[in-house]
């Protein structure tokens, strides 16, 4: 067990204590291990000299008069929950990592994944061949009901084997591409492939940037007009005479607009904006420009976040269902690919969830 593993396991078991106390204990143990390593022991040995983590945690908790079994039943209940939680976290890591990749590496990743799936599909052939060999052998040598039972048992075993191979291959693929490590840390492989890319900005940043640009321009469009309505001295006016009259005019207009909030108010506001048009001209055109951009970005946002994912998902689901139906009619031998397709269907859900969460994150930034 490594030092960090040991410490995190210990921390997990001491959760019931005050966080300050936990830090204190962890610090001391970490220091002890460091010193042992300085005196020439290996990390493994230094950790091993503490004995089992369970026993250690039990003794520490007893020192605090805490019943060491306080969460035994809860822990057993939580075991399943922990697994699910871990699985979800890994899925989250995968999506986070995918989003932090650049476009090029993403394309490469996708192509690699398609190749992997193809290889796995081809791999089904020799497994089928072995299976039919075995079942043929047993069918020929053993009398009927027994051979049937053994045959179905074998079929189940081979299916399980194939499923295990598929899952393992996908796991290795994800791990090798550094998709399983927490987002932000990249494995060596991931770094290498990224270095070769011309465009190294992560796809996440590209999208976030566009979303931010979209929302800031939208703000400009909304704030552009009210800012001109503000009464008050305007020091940058070209002539002093105008400068004295001007502050009153918008105030009067503002009063009028207050009197007729729904009808003429709107017009008045526009008129009030007119005299001051010389100064805030760049702002005004900026707002116009922003409005144009707003429409443009709205279209692009709709494209990015609604149409493409929707079309993609519908396509994926239709294809997957079609393939599933085919597999079902082809017979039970196609159990493996069917599960893969089922997995793909399930994978579509977190991917769309990740994409939609992006939209909301972009909104939260600004």
């Amino acid at each position: 067990m490594s030092k960090s593993e040991f410490l995190s396991q210990l921390r997990e078991r001491l959760k019931v204590l005050n966080p300050h106390e936990i830090e204190d204990i962890i610090d001391e143990y970490s220091q002890h291990i460091d010193m042992k390593m300085q005196s020439g022991q290996s990390e493994e040995d230094a950790v091993a000299s503490f004995g089992s983590v369970d026993e250690l945690a039990r003794q520490i908790l007893e020192a605090y008069n805490v019943n060491p079994d306080y969460d035994k039943s809860r822990r057993a209940e939580n075991a399943v929950g922990d697994w699910i939680h871990r699985f979800v976290r890994q899925l989250n890591n995968v999506t986070e990592n995918i989003l932090s990749r650049s476009r090029n590496s993403l394309v490469r990743l996708f192509v690699q994944f398609v190749v992997l799936v193809l290889v796995l599909l081809v791999l089904k052939l020799p497994i089928d061949w072995f299976f039919s060999l075995f079942s043929g052998y047993f069918g020929g040598t053993i009398f009927w009901p027994v051979s049937e039972i053994i045959g179905s048992l074998l079929w189940f075993l081979f299916g399980l084997l194939y499923l295990a191979i598929c899952l393992y291959a996908v796991y290795v693929f994800l791990k090798k591409n550094g998709l399983l490590s927490p987002a932000g840390q990249k494995s060596e492989d991931g770094k290498d492939t990224d270095m070769k890319d011309n465009d190294k900005t992560p796809i996440k940043d590209v999208i976030t940037e566009e979303v931010n640009a979209f929302f800031t321009s939208e703000d400009a469009a909304w704030e552009g007009e009210p800012s001109q309505q503000e009464p008050g001295p305007q020091p940058e006016d070209p002539t002093p005479g105008d400068g004295q009259e001007e502050p009153d005019a918008p105030q009067e207009e503002a009063k009028k607009s207050r009197r007729f909030p729904f009808g003429r108010g709107r017009e008045n506001r526009r008129q009030a904006a007119q005299p001051a048009a010389v100064k805030p001209a760049p702002e005004h055109t900026g707002a116009d420009h922003a409005f144009g951009r707003l429409i443009l970005f709205a279209l692009r946002i709709i494209m990015f976040f609604v149409l493409i994912p929707a079309v993609f998902c519908v396509f994926l689901i239709v294809v997957a269902f079609g393939a599933m139906v085919v597999c079902l009619f082809q017979g039970i031998v196609y159990f493996g690919p069917m599960l893969v397709i089922l997995g793909l269907l399930l994978a579509a859900v977190p991917i769309t969830a990740a994409i939609t969460s992006f939209v909301f994150r972009g909104r939260a930034v600004k």
Binding site: D24, I25, D27, E28, Y29, Q31, H32, D34, M35, K36, S49, F50, G51, S52, E55, L56, Q59, I60, E62, A63, Y64, N65
Partner: protein, 109 residues
């Protein structure tokens, strides 16, 4: 020496070790394990317990290398407890020695 023996005596040994001077965890563990072969896993929880019972005080002190170390200091209360334990131990040892002599067939007349 069996684990039961060790466990009973360990508390006294740890208290005695700190009587000489204040020590930090690692130092204390290496000092104690010179005499009693005991796992680190046993000593640290014991230190924790003795601290919680206010026989020890702890304070942090800078070290020449690495992060600051947590030193254990024997309090007055701890010192009294140690004396008491020591008296019990000596008393106990004398009685056991006496009993061993009594039971020794060669000594009997």
């Amino acid at each position: 020496m069996t684990t039961q023996f060790k466990k009973g005596v360990l508390e006294l040994v740890v208290l005695l070790a700190v009587t000489k001077k204040d020590m930090y965890g690692y130092e204390l563990v290496s000092e104690v394990s010179r005499f009693i072969d005991v796992g680190e896993g046993t000593i640290y929880p014991l230190l924790k317990r003795l601290t919680n019972e206010r026989y020890f005080e702890t304070y942090l002190a800078e070290s020449s290398e690495g992060p600051p170390r947590k030193y254990y200091h024997l309090t007055r209360r701890g010192s009294m407890y140690k004396d008491d334990l020591l008296r019990q131990w000596i008393d106990f040892r004398e009685k056991v020695d006496l009993f061993i002599k009594e039971c020794d067939p060669h000594e009997q007349k």
